[in-house]
Amino acid sequence: MKLLTHKWVSVVLLWLFVIAVWQIAAGIYGPDIIPGPVATWNGAVELLEDGSLLSYIGISFYRVFVGWVLGSLIAIPLGLIIGRVAIVRVFAEPFLNFIRFIPPIAFITLFLVWFGIGEQSKIALIMYATLFIVMMNTLTGVLAVEEDKVRAARSLGASEWQILIYVVIPATVPYMFTGIRLAMGTSYMAIIGAEMIAANEGLGYLIWNSRLFFRTDWIFVGLICLGLIGFFTDRLVGLLGKKLLYRYGVVSSEPIRR
């Protein structure tokens, strides 16, 4: 038990178990339905040999990264404005509550029209996926700033602008960070949609295009890569947050459980 709860041991055991179940399932259902670990590995090797898998990972990561960063950069000021200005909030909230049920993929055609078939439209789709979640979390954070902090600052002589810069923004940092981290998850989720738009490469392209040729092994390769880079970048962001934002109350690098 002591040994089992030790993190690395258990993680390795878990993966061995998952792989075993997977292999058995593949044996039962056959490779077209469930490509087993070996078949998937072979598929991966095939893609690795000509370097395409690595370049796909690089390209998808780049798109996710840029879209996510830009989306967050836009979302944070918007969230701050919506949170601080009651009149804007009254207008924006019903709209946000309506639009949040519309998936990024629904915007493919429109984004194509607005941003063309190049990188822009793909990145815009990731931005869309990021935007609302960061905005909503920033907004929540702004509304959660303790009134006492604002009052204290005000009676210490801070102007409204100083209150925004020196109180509201730092107090909202943990919420922004949570939003940004959650948004990373949705960004990875949106990559398939983004790479449906005139893409010739990328993990989303791999997953989507492999459907046409019924290469379930490649679909598996794509899914696993997506999961893995998602997992590791999330950890990285978590650690960075803990290191850099400790002051602001970002104290845990554990994955957000929700």
């Binding site: 339905i33 194509l112 063309g116 078939i117 005139a198 295009n209 046409l212 019924f214």
Partner: protein, 314 residues
């Protein structure tokens, strides 16, 4: 699990079919709605997919037991398993059919030679890559001379061509051709009849189905033939059916019917066309295991139902 047929039904010639269809094909929808399948003792279901390739894929997992598609996905499918081509739909092979694939280009492109270094659209999972290959070859270019942009739909191509993000795209379908033709700064450079490329359409089913219920398969072909006749005679009715079933706008259906008419057959040309495309696919690595197209043909049912339409001699 809707694609499994009972042996007892086979004895009676009754056939349970789940057909992989695409949104814009009226044949099966009409046969179902107008009771033609019923008349031929076929208990048919239609599963609608966005593209023929996805429909054909559903064969592999026993979700459907009949599918149709153009040469490209069909060849891809038969290369992988125990499936047979039982008939050609008779579309796409004539010069007139080929002329329905138009090449639209930006005005900067006035001849094939101008395509050098330009961005051209490839409709993913279709024969268009083959078409580009042959077309460019014909004009002394190769695929390396252009930049190929993979696309997933004509709406994408339309927007991209309009904004100049691609310079050339092959388009088919009456409505789409009108739309593309009316784009400012865009003109039609040529059509596919000017190339050696033809692309047919075929119907494929699992071999097992032929063995178990040969009579049923014949009835299936008879039903298709009757539906094709009906479609030619009642275009308005077909447009209504298509709107009701899959929301294809009526004018679009009517415009397509003028050009695309199913007429079951299997000709020497159909075989040749497939063979050429197969060679290309093998060379490009799209098909991994080479095979002989003639081994994948099972034309006995068609020969019996429409003997005069089978002109191919092995």
């Amino acid at each position: 699990g809707c694609g499994k047929q009972q042996p007892s039904e086979a004895a009676a010639g009754k056939l349970s079919l789940t057909i992989a269809d695409t949104v814009s094909n009226p044949t099966f929808q009409v046969a179902l709605t107008e009771g033609i399948f019923e008349k031929y003792n076929i208990d048919a279901k239609i599963a609608t997919f966005a593209t023929p390739a996805e429909g054909i894929n559903a064969l592999f997992i026993n979700q459907v037991n009949a599918a149709y598609g153009a040469d490209f996905p069909v060849l891809n499918a038969v290369s992988k398993g125990e499936y047979s081509i039982i008939a050609s739909t008779g579309t796409g092979l004539s010069e007139q059919d080929a002329a329905n694939w138009k090449l639209f280009v930006r005005d900067e492109v006035q001849s094939a030679a101008d395509l050098k270094g330009r961005k051209v659209s490839n409709f993913r999972g279709t024969f268009v890559s083959y078409l580009w290959d042959k077309y460019l070859q014909q004009h002394g270019l190769t695929s390396d001379d252009v930049e190929i942009i993979g696309q997933g739909g004509f709406d994408e191509s339309y927007v991209a061509l309009k904004s100049g993000e691609i310079d050339a795209v092959w388009v088919t379908g009456a409505t789409l051709i009108d739309k593309f033709a009316s784009l400012p700064g865009v003109h039609q450079l040529t059509d596919m009849s000017q190339t050696e490329v033809r692309t047919g359409g075929e119907i494929i089913i699992p071999n097992a189905l032929l063995e178990e219920n040969a009579e049923g398969v014949k009835n299936f072909l008879r039903a298709i033939e009757e539906a094709s006749q009906f479609i030619q005679e009642n275009p308005e009715r077909v447009a209504d059916i298509m709107f009701e079933k899959v929301k294809q706008p009526r004018d679009m259906t009517l415009a397509d019917l003028e050009n695309v008419r199913w007429s079951l057959q299997f000709s020497e040309q159909a075989y040749e066309t497939m063979n050429k495309q197969k060679d290309y696919m093998v060379a490009e690595g799209i098909i991994q295991q080479d095979f002989a197209v003639k081994d994948k043909l099972r034309l006995e049912a068609l020969k019996e139902v429409l003997p005069e339409r089978v002109t191919y001699e092995p």
